[in-house]
């Protein structure tokens, strides 16, 4: 297979470009989008690459249509992605829920910018953390990943596709304008260097008849894609194992929704990824995600130089959230700081996880600038 960009070597590229290249290498062959800063470059790169790899890139009439199209593409057998920013992500929420309910593997990239509303189109923010987890209505479960470098934007995109396919679920890649537009050196692997996963397909008629059942006991039903003669009916209404709508049966609703939770929560250990930095003996923990993690690394070093035993926990997966791990951490440290580029979203999750075992303090910053290391240091030193 020929690729429209160099593989097996490093390149100096923007975060958005890295996401597009990773998607192509992960096997994405359908992209639908609607332009929005700071996510447009993902679309522009996909528009360049897709026809060359016999994939589809199409500009839809809006974001609602974009996510709808990728869900349709996924049921026709494609690995599919869309990318947007806050305002577009808000429009996608109804169909994001549809993807959860119909267990459709898709990847949705949200390049966060300052909000609410059209807010600050060109400036970074972390204001969509709660929206990415809880934006759609009803009880639901999905996966949210958050990179902090351009290399991670690349790596996590591949991971997003793999998780989506493995667990038949939408995965949100939550990044921000800073990473989107920053150029960094990124290693673009050869296809044989990366692991790519494709969804489980039914092995026989029996499995195909249960597109929403649990024939393997792992909570993830094989997905009978369209056109293979299985005659699958897919609906966003509450449905039984066969896909038949059963909208007033409490038991069936509970069984379906709980399985959708279970298939992800039972595999939490595989899905959740985090990095620890100088945390073993730390008395002060800093918990971050995304771009702020970079300032926090520096802050930890400065604090250590000052004789303060600080350490960093960087969350690569934001959802599902490891509340138990945070509680263990809270038992070990004196205080937890949560610097984030909003007025407190990750903070609430960390505080719940800490469960009163340590004091948790928010270091909020909005307006479009990433915290400087000194801003974090000064708050910790007091």
């Amino acid at each position: 297979m020929r690729y429209p960009f160099p593989v097996g070597k490093s390149d100096f590229i923007q975060g958005d470009e890295a996401i597009a290249r990773a998607a192509i290498l992960a096997g994405c062959r359908f992209y639908a989008g609607y332009p929005i800063t700071p996510a447009s470059e993902i679309f522009e790169a996909m528009a360049l690459y897709m026809p060359l790899v016999d994939g589809v890139s199409i500009q839809m009439e809006d974001e609602i249509a974009s996510i709808a199209a990728i869900i349709g593409a996924s049921w026709a057998g494609a690995k599919a992605m869309t990318a947007t920013s806050g305002p577009g992500f808000s429009l996608m929420q109804e169909n994001l829920g549809y993807a959860v309910m119909t267990e459709t593997p898709i990847v949705v990239v949200d390049v966060q910018r300052g909000g609410p509303s059209t807010g600050q189109p060109t400036l970074p923010a972390q204001g969509d953390i709660m929206q990415s987890i809880w934006g759609t209505h009803g009880d639901h479960m999905l996966i949210v990943l958050s990179p902090s470098t351009v290399q991670e934007a690349f790596d996590f995109t591949i991971r997003a596709f793999n998780l989506a396919e493995k667990y038949r679920t939408p995965v949100v890649l939550l990044t921000d304008a800073e990473i989107a537009h920053m150029r960094e050196r990124v290693y673009i692997p050869k296809p044989e260097e990366i692991e790519t996963i494709y969804r489980k397909l039914p092995q026989n008629e029996e499995e195909a008849k249960l597109p929403f059942g649990d024939p393997h006991g792992d909570g993830v039903p094989p997905m009978p894609i369209f056109g293979k003669g299985y005659r699958t009916y897919v609906t966003g209404l509450t449905h039984d194992e066969y896909g038949h709508p059963k909208t007033v049966d409490a038991e069936i609703h509970e069984r379906l929704i709980k399985r959708i939770f279970r298939k992800i929560l039972d595999h939490k250990d595989e899905i959740i990824s985090r990095e620890e930095f100088m945390l073993e003996d730390a008395e002060i923990a800093i918990v971050t995600t995304g771009i702020v993690s970079r300032s926090a690394v520096r802050a930890v070093k400065i604090l250590r130089e000052k004789g303060i035993k600080a350490g960093l926990l960087k969350l690569n997966t934001i959802w599902p959230f490891d509340f138990e791990y945070i509680e263990e951490l809270a038992e070990r440290v004196r205080k937890i700081y949560v610097p984030e580029m909003n007025l407190g979203q990750l903070y609430h999750l960390v505080k719940e996880g800490a469960n009163g075992k340590a004091e948790v303090e928010l270091i909020a910053k909005i307006g479009g600038e990433v915290h400087t290391p000194m801003e974090i240091v000064e708050r910790v030193v007091g």
């Binding site: 199409i58 869900i71 349709g72 049921w75 169909n95 056109g227």
Partner: protein, 281 residues
């Protein structure tokens, strides 16, 4: 045309385990479904190569009752989902079953853009002038003066003429019938299914329960008589003045052309891309 018995059609194409349908007595959706299945049957199309898509509403429940691959999506968005299915697997033929509110109100934007792109899909549109599923609110097709629960004193807005909208947006095939024009209806669906690009067959369909009841037509026969009264065949309409056509709905075949469909355009686009990049000699 040889007409098979309704039982044969039912047994061949409906999912027995999903019956009975949710449709009220006298509802026209069942008839239009039958027309569509007869058209498929007459053409001898492969059941495994057809995907039915729909949005939300009574009309949109149809894909659940037929034994085909089906995607019952969100309100108004069926054609956007269909775009992904069709471009991913062009071998699949797509039938979108939609209501008038679904297609022309919440889905209006997707509708005109799917037509503009000439998405390869056959839309079967149930126009009952109302939101049946939610209990009889006015639809964007409701003629002036018609009542709905959200216009209890009679509709004061202008209606959309969906068929004409589709013609101007560029659809390859557009026809409109009432549910009692069954032969024309079946023939139109057959034509639509054989064509590339966007094709639309709109049916004026009785909804006695949510619509008729509020407009002094409680039964399907009353509604059908009313449809007979307000519809004018295209040839006749051409000789009528604008005043004479006021409050009337023209039925017939409005467009029949062969512009390239989206799939073919995209395949050409891929070739162009590879050529421009020097990937193909």
């Amino acid at each position: 045309m040889y007409l098979k018995s309704a039982y044969e059609i039912r047994d061949k194409y409906l999912r027995k385990d999903m019956l009975p349908t949710i449709f009220c007595p006298g509802c026209g959706i069942g008839s239009v479904l039958q027309f569509t299945l007869r058209a498929i049957d007459d053409l001898g199309l492969n059941q495994d190569e057809i995907v039915w898509v729909s949005g939300i509403g009574c009309s949109s429940r149809v894909p659940g009752f037929v034994n085909f691959d089906g995607l019952h999506t969100t309100h108004g968005r069926a054609l956007a989902f269909a775009t992904g299915i069709k471009l991913t697997n062009p071998d699949l033929k797509i039938i979108a079953f939609m209501g008038d509110g679904d297609a022309a109100a919440i889905g209006g934007n997707h509708f005109i853009h799917a037509i503009r792109r000439n998405l390869d899909v056959t839309v079967i549109l149930i126009n009952n002038f109302t939101y049946g599923m939610t209990g009889g609110q006015v639809a964007p097709t409701a003629l002036k003066g018609l009542r709905g629960t959200t216009a209890p004193y009679g509709q004061f807005e202008n209606p959309f003429d969906i068929a004409n909208l589709a013609v101007s947006a560029g659809a390859n095939y557009v026809a409109r019938w009432t549910v009692f024009n069954y032969l024309q209806g079946i023939n139109s669906i057959k034509k639509a299914l054989q064509k590339e690009g966007f094709t639309l067959v709109e049916f004026l369909s009785p909804c006695p329960i949510s619509f008729g009841r509020r407009n002094r037509m409680k039964t399907a026969p009353e509604l059908i008589r009313w449809y007979q009264k307000i519809t004018v065949p295209l040839a006749k309409a051409k000789k009528m003045s604008e005043e004479e056509l006021e409050g009337k709905i023209v039925i017939g075949e409005f467009a029949d052309r062969d512009r390239p469909g989206l799939v073919r355009e995209y395949q050409e686009y891929i070739k162009r891309a590879k050529k421009m990049m020097g990937w193909e000699q």
